[in-house]
């Protein structure tokens, strides 16, 4: 009984497999042309000019962008300015972006253009980045560096040399509140840490979620902790990160203590360590069930891009960014943690470096850049540029708020040293879980910091 059925089954499966392999081969054969552009050793591009005769395909790998809106934006920009360059856009989830990059680059492959962040990634990937200077001079001009803001250039450099082109500024050091929800319970946007604590108590009392942080994600823990430390003693924080000051300094231990109290005092939500920022916590925030979350400046982009967000606003919910609360009671909020949205880099292994550079130019200071500014994907890194979209009242006022804060920067957002970063991440989580004390955590971080090669 089994025999006959089995025979049919096998025949069917083999048939499908054979059919699929024929179709599959056909379907995938067509798309090998772009990848071969990178992996084949083509020696003619050395003399290519800005407008090559035959169409050139280049690939770009990044995370985060809204894919559907990028394709026409890219096509539009490239079509008018650089008609012979076609861009294939690889969108990769952030969690896997660097993994893919590493694996690709280690084997001499990889996209022609790719994005990396400042900080540790820039240092690690620097050797795969084509020195941008010569390319930029050719495509933009000898004065290309003057076009970008100083802060942008500073973030772009590794050992003094720029690795790529800066692409937008962004960062954290703020909180976003759901104003409607706050009004419902008669709570003012918090200005101090005590305000935040009281806010959380009020919401908990009413059976609601309080200030919520996705503590499973180490990056948000770093953002919040750095903001706390910045308010207590900013220069000590950055010196400690650079190894010039010990982590067991009382100011830093105080910062770790404040961090831990967020959890022990019930300011942050229960079960924070089991939730990540995107999508767990953010999801609930957009369901209008959380009053405050510590996401950064990038959230302003939701007004122009995120359908659910827009629907919430249309339904009468209003949101606004506020500065990170005052921790040490001196009446001043900590400075922002600013970093680059990304550094756009040309792959050293690329066989179409000039064309790649043209695309990078549009991406960081040309048509694509302006489009991204207009939808508030990031904030300006090119001098004398600004977002030029149509913004409603709430959006305009929030944008003005953020723009006014841009001058008050505490320092970089990204931690440059991976091992130190892991030690800090682990200790921040351990403190949140109640498994360590600020003193012990500081000592552990200091051990890592002392061992860190800088």
């Amino acid at each position: 009984m089994l025999r006959k059925g089995f025979k049919v089954c096998i025949c069917v499966m083999l048939a499908i497999a054979i059919m699929a392999s024929i179709v599959g081969c056909g379907a995938s054969a067509g798309s090998t042309t772009t990848t071969s552009a990178v992996s084949s050793s083509d020696t003619t591009t050395a003399t290519a000019t800005a407008a090559p005769a035959a169409p050139v395909d280049i690939t770009w790998q990044t995370w985060g962008y809204e894919h559907a809106s990028m394709d026409p934006a890219i096509a539009d920009a490239m079509a008018s300015d650089f008609p012979n360059v076609n861009v294939k856009f690889n969108l990769v989830p952030y969690a896997d972006h660097y993994t893919k990059l590493k694996v690709d680059l280690a084997s001499g492959a990889g996209s022609d253009v790719f994005d990396i962040q400042d900080g540790a990634p820039a240092t690690q990937f620097a050797e795969f980045c084509e020195p941008i200077g010569p390319l930029a001079e050719k495509a933009i001009g000898a004065d290309w560096q003057t076009k970008f803001t100083d802060y942008a250039l500073k973030q772009d450099a590794v050992n003094g040399a720029p690795v790529g082109l800066p692409c937008g500024i962004g960062g954290n050091g703020v909180l976003w509140v759901n104003k409607t929800l706050l009004d419902k319970y008669n709570v003012q946007p918090p200005k101090t840490l005590d305000d935040l604590k009281a806010l959380s108590a009020t919401f908990r009392k009413n059976g609601q979620l309080p200030f919520s942080i996705g503590a499973k994600d180490s990056w948000i823990n770093e953002d919040v902790f750095q903001s706390i430390a910045n308010d207590i003693n900013s220069s000590k924080l950055y010196d400690a990160l650079d190894g010039k000051v010990k982590w067991t300094d009382p100011d830093l231990i105080k910062a770790l203590d404040v961090w831990q109290k967020l959890f022990t005092d019930k300011t942050a939500q229960d079960g924070a360590l089991g939730m990540n920022m995107y999508n767990d916590t953010y999801d609930i925030f957009l369901k209008n069930m959380i009053p405050v979350i510590p996401v950064g400046l990038w959230m302003i982009n939701n007004y122009t891009g995120n359908d659910t967000f827009k629907k919430n606003v249309a339904d009468g919910n209003s949101y606004m960014p506020i500065r990170f609360p005052d921790v040490n009671g001196d009446g001043k909020a900590p400075g922002l943690l600013l970093g680059l949205n990304a550094i756009v880099v040309v792959n050293k292994n690329s066989t179409h470096k000039d064309e790649a550079m043209l695309f990078a130019k549009s991406l960081t200071m040309g048509k694509i850049y302006q489009k991204m500014l207009d939808i508030l994907w990031y904030l300006p890194t090119v001098k004398d540029t600004k977002p030029q979209g149509q913004y409603d009242t709430e959006l305009q006022s929030n944008l003005d708020l953020i723009t006014s804060w841009l001058g008050d920067v505490a320092g970089s957002r990204q931690i440059k040293y991976p091992e130190l970063q892991k030690a800090i991440d682990d200790q921040l989580q351990a403190l949140a879980a109640g498994q360590s004390t600020p003193q012990k955590a500081a000592e552990t971080i200091e051990t890592a910091s002392a061992a860190q090669k800088r």
């Binding site: 660097y98 993994t99 590493k102 680059l105 280690a106 540790a120 690690q124 990937f125 050797e127 795969f128 979620l209 503590a215 499973k216 939500q269 229960d270 079960g271 924070a272 360590l273 089991g274 939730m275 767990d280 609930i284 069930m289 991976p418 091992e419 892991k422 682990d426 989580q429 351990a430 949140a432 879980a433 498994q435």
Partner: protein, 289 residues
């Protein structure tokens, strides 16, 4: 058996695949474990056994070993017990048994990643389905931080693993049970043995080969487990659910430390070989009885 030179031709294709896709990577990994390397650079520096000494000084390594033992023992054993009980219960004619079998076995064919995503929503502390349900029936004290509490998380992973694979054990035991001739049960019953004694003295021993197969496959599965821990906890919170696979992945891809990652991989391989040898030994010892 016929002696045959042509035999080498028969095994050639298989060995070719093995050499290219298994042997070479393993050799590469062993080699890398003696270097400090960030995984992509052309620069590597030879540091001998330093990666190994670093590993033994790494607190997380001991967490991984502990998790391996706890996770391994609990998932394999509990799945086997549940599977056996379910299989025994299905021996007698039960209405809808076909339906039960279909449902219970189904998680085995589901993609582990998808299972991970689903459970990460169900198990969330504040608004996840499980805790909401428990609070609704006034069992608040049971609404634990399934993924956020460092003491609970590993057991949550064990539970999800059991959820997925118990059906497999059940089916294997059903197969094993069907090889035990009915007469043995009859004989035991006639001799006046209670059901419980039959279970212990007749059933359990006769299923030895099933026990062995399940435990070997179980250990291999535990060594390789990646998808579910990666999605549900990513080794956290605070490294409490780190496994070899998640830590190796982190070392290689978040920490730019391919050398250490390779070291851990080598240790994992050695551990796997030891486990297999031990299990083989136990099995042949048991069979000598």
């Amino acid at each position: 058996m016929t002696k045959s030179k042509a035999a080498y031709l028969y095994i050639a294709p298989m060995c070719l695949f093995f050499l290219i896709f298994t042997a070479y990577p393993v050799v590469f990994t062993i080699q890398t474990s003696f270097y400090k390397w960030n995984g992509m650079s052309a620069n590597k520096s030879f540091i001998g056994l330093q990666n190994y000494t670093n590993v033994f000084h790494d607190g997380i390594f001991y967490i991984i070993l502990k998790n391996f033992v706890i996770f391994g023992l609990l998932t394999i054993f509990i799945q086997m017990v549940f599977g056996l009980i379910l299989a025994v219960m299905l021996k007698s004619k039960l209405p809808f048994s076909g339906f039960y079998k279909t449902v219970i076995f189904m998680p085995v064919v589901l993609t582990p990643t998808i299972i991970g995503y689903i459970f990460s929503r169900v198990l969330e502390y504040n608004l996840g389905t499980l805790n909401v349900f428990l609070r609704a029936v006034h069992l608040d004290f049971l609404a634990l931080g399934w993924l956020s509490d460092t003491k609970v998380a590993i057991f949550t992973l064990i539970a999800v693993n059991i959820w997925q694979w118990t059906g497999y054990s059940m089916m294997m035991y059903m197969a094993g049970l069907s090889t035990i001739p009915e007469e043995m049960f009859e004989a035991a019953k006639i001799d006046g043995a209670s059901n419980f004694r039959i279970f212990i003295h007749v059933l359990w021993p006769m299923l030895k080969s099933t026990h062995f197969t399940l435990s070997i496959l179980g250990v291999i599965g535990v060594l390789k487990t990646f998808d579910i821990p990666y999605i549900l906890t990513n080794g956290g919170p605070v490294n409490s659910t780190q496994f070899f696979s998640t830590y190796i992945y982190q070392k290689a891809f978040s920490l730019y430390d391919a050398g250490s990652a390779s070291t851990l991989a080598v240790i994992l391989l050695i551990l796997a070989i030891i486990c297999t040898i031990v299990q083989n030994h136990l099995y042949s010892r048991a069979n000598e009885v």
